[in-house]
Symmetry: C2
């Protein structure tokens, strides 16, 4: 084996390590998506057992975060990645933190679903929560998709969805306050509904964070704390460059 | 200048870079502490202007996060740190994310304070919120102190405070539900109180996260998602080694 072969061999193994890391993030994302889906389902159909299962399974998400985090540190130490590889690793370290927090919020929703299942159910069967849940699930799905395809434009489109999610959250909260005022006997139950809505709204924020890391990976520019028009300019400029 | 001088020169500059980074985190922490203090103060004394100032100043926290984050990436790329230096950088990348989120929660509390200031004030002048706020401020302060002194034992003691904060949060929430049931006219106001309490509880979680990164820096072991007794065993074992 000559030096060139060895070089190629090392770089091939390195590429495999990076690929395994990316796949790890996507597996973790898949698990988080399925936890979120079950949690929303548990609220909507009033399935206490399903809610508790989501809460019980959160440790699997946590375990994946620790494993991927360790793999990132190992690659940073042994491969000393530069430029786009380094951006990938830093983005992964941040992404898995947000995925883990999405898992935490799904766990909370699971517990709340179990509590709500034992209470009187409203005639609309939590239609608004279902709609908010669908939109948030779409945000999470699209953010992972943008991550997988390193697609800054798709990431940007998902960032924009967050405004709609925030509006829906505000509307549910206002509605909940009205319900409680009209019939104070519903306060305990409706408070649980506001907490589910709050958890969903936070999941939207985490999906938005992931999208911003994708844009950072692709364009090498930090777009956090920037309004969405400025991000758009950046993505379009980057696309032309 | 011979090679040894040059080596020392490079390592001296590298050490200065790391030191500057640590100081940057502590400055950011100081700003976040002062934002949190003002936000709680604004709620307790009903100072709308102060609340809005906290919200307006959040951009300063965000700016510091981006600056420190870029410095971390630069050091990772140019210095290729290993072992404890690498753990320091990874811990900083995570710590500033939590500090930034504490800033976001302080911003929310600022807005809520401004809203609450225009509403009727309860006779206890939000005593429970003040107590919760004090404990959360202590957690944030101690977590930054543990970070500055790389003190895993202090970090562990702070992790344990989080249980107390969670209990206080639960108690405020239960009390709020009782108030609303007894007098539904208070619902709008009391909902704002529950949101302040929720924001404070989340800040406690972020301070706990920072403490776990400190333990990771010192012991090189990931203690997240581990119960506090297991963390304690780890810290004590590490201390003896």
């Amino acid at each position: 084996m000559d030096a060139a072969d060895l070089g190629q061999h090392i770089s091939k193994r390195y590429n495999e390590e990076l690929e395994r890391l990316r796949n790890g993030v996507l597996s973790m994302g898949g698990l988080v998506e399925s936890q979120l889906e079950s949690a929303v389902q548990a609220v909507v159909v009033g399935d206490s057992e399903l809610g508790l299962r989501v809460a019980r399974d959160d440790y699997k998400v946590n375990r994946m975060e620790v494993t991927i985090d360790e793999a990132c540190s190992r690659i940073l130490a042994t491969r000393q990645p530069a430029a786009s590889d380094l951006r990938l690793i830093v983005a992964i370290i941040k992404t898995i933190t947000d995925l883990e927090r999405i898992g935490d919020e799904a766990e909370k929703i699971g517990f709340l679903a179990s509590r709500l299942a034992s209470m009187e159910r409203p005639s609309d069967r939590y239609r608004e929560l279902k709609t908010l849940g669908d939109h948030v699930q779409l945000m999470v799905h699209n953010s992972l998709d943008a991550f997988a395809r390193l697609d800054a434009k798709a990431a940007l489109a998902t960032v924009k969805l967050d405004d709609q999610v925030d509006d829906e959250y505000d509307s549910i909260t206002r509605q909940c306050i009205t319900f409680m005022m009209e019939d104070p006997r519903t306060i305990s139950r409706v408070m649980n509904v506001t907490w589910v809505a709050r958890a969903l709204e936070r999941i939207g924020d985490h999906a938005k964070n992931i999208c911003e890391y994708v844009i950072y990976m692709v364009h090498g520019k930090d777009v956090r704390h920037t309004d969405s028009e400025a991000i758009e300019r950046e993505v379009i400029k980057g696309g032309k460059a």
